[in-house]
Symmetry: C2
């Protein structure tokens, strides 16, 4: 069994980007600039956004954090997005989800200029991905593909089983793994809450991607000997013995599954750090493609 070390790989990617930013600055150019919009005071969202902003600073990007109060109206948020769309100093921006219930998430995502949509959540970018066109790939699936690429895992013709059909992980993973590209060309089965006999299906998988959000869901008896196991779950499980009062727990029963897997991502330190690295990578792409 080998660990797919997302922390190390994410750091490698960040170092590579930092080098490129240094070169840009040396040649008199401005660095890429990522903005993040946060509405309200959700604890996990604050943590995620804070981590994204700090990562920007470390690699030499400009970053802007726009914190809006919980009671922000939809129209105010739309105006803010319009400002970011037209501001030539901003290369890309994200609107941290979830949004408060009184704001229509779909309307907000549709308002983001696809050229600055470094989360890859706009339908135009999502459609381009599905149609094999150049675009921004959502950061979590992009990070998983990059992990597969950097560890040189051969997935062509292999059977990949994905658990969960969310817009931000399961659905895009099913597209990316089966695309005619490298890495890609896997035979992909997308499973979800309505799937019958799930373990009969996961047991056939050469690659399992679990994006369910149920701690320790994937047991050793659901996995084939030698499978590649990718754990996208990040659930906060209350734990009084930890200073934060919780531990981040994956979908995979790691201690048991690791003995059967050929490669496995840990939680934390697997897919999570790759997600941030690929958001930074998308911001660099936005800068390279569209900045003057």
């Amino acid at each position: 069994m080998k660990i797919l070390d997302g922390k190390k790989t994410g750091n490698d990617i960040k170092s590579e980007i930092a080098d490129q930013v240094l070169q840009l600055k040396k040649s008199g150019k401005r660095p890429p600039h990522l903005a993040a919009v946060l509405v309200g005071n959700d604890g996990a969202s604050l943590t995620y956004v804070g981590s994204k902003v700090r990562s920007c600073e470390r690699i030499g990007y400009e970053s802007t954090l726009i914190k809006l109060p919980e009671e922000t109206t939809e129209q105010t948020l739309l105006n803010q997005i319009q400002e970011l769309n037209t501001n030539p100093a901003i290369d890309g921006f994200i609107v941290q989800l979830p949004l408060p219930a009184h704001i229509d998430e779909e309307k907000i995502l549709m308002a983001v200029d696809p050229k600055k949509d470094v989360d890859g959540f706009h339908p135009t970018n999502f459609g381009k991905m599905a149609l094999d066109m150049e675009t921004f790939i959502p950061a979590t699936p992009f990070g998983i593909m990059e992990l597969i690429r950097r560890y040189d895992l051969d997935i062509s013709g292999k059977h990949a089983v994905i658990i969960g059909r969310s817009h931000i992980v399961g659905r895009p993973m099913s597209i990316l793994l089966s695309r005619k590209s490298s890495p890609g060309n896997a035979t992909v089965t997308l499973t979800h809450s309505r799937t019958k006999n799930l373990s009969e299906i996961t047991k056939q998988a050469d690659i399992v991607v679990s994006a369910l959000g149920v701690p320790n869901f994937l047991k050793a008896n659901m996995v084939k000997q030698g499978a590649i196991v990718i754990d996208v779950g990040i659930t906060r499980v209350p734990d009084e013995s930890h200073p934060k009062g919780y531990v981040i727990t994956g979908d995979v029963d790691f201690e048991a599954v690791r003995h059967k897997a050929s490669y496995i991502t840990p939680v934390p330190g697997g897919v999570g750090p790759m997600t941030i690295a690929m958001l930074l990578q998308n911001t660099f792409l936005a800068y390279s493609r569209y900045a003057n």
Copy 2:
């Protein structure tokens, strides 16, 4: 075994639309208007476009066929598309594929206003489909879903296996069958040219959708007893004994597979007529959503 009769079902849909058009006209409104752009003289394309235009006429739509010579430049075609985009009398239009080699197909599809893209090929519409938003669904997959709906086939939680990952059939079918909707909620495996042990996978399928374009590819020993079999293949196989010099042949070895299937689409008379019906349906949707 029961035949999924696309010819009859397509005619039912066309009759329903014709009734609605009649009501529109009675109330003093103009009917929907579909335009088709054809570049060059490809025989099959001429047949398809001609059939679409005739169907429009039969149900009371306005239709316009724009035939451009093989040597049409990309810019001329882009200008034509711009004219159709801005012409308020046109509700939807299609650009018949394939285009001559000197024209960039991607650039052309990107130029079509998504609001008039009744083929559903624009990335914005494709992305909306993948993200469960209201859109135009490509006619062939839409037709298959409608056939499943009208025959009241229960596919929720069933295992669907799709053969072929094309942008116009395989990929969208994999999305539609697995969506959280009715019909939908199937567990979906997408297979393609790189898939190993294909027949091991198809033998597990409760639903098989073959969109490969290889005549008589799917044999009886690749199909489970009681499976639903959808044949999207339409290959012209030379046959001197027929007046046209060819016969339209599906991917499925129909005479053998029919004895194992619970439901099966014939070729011709299965998916083909549904495709045209759903193009007309999309045009009606475009008219209803956007026409004044």
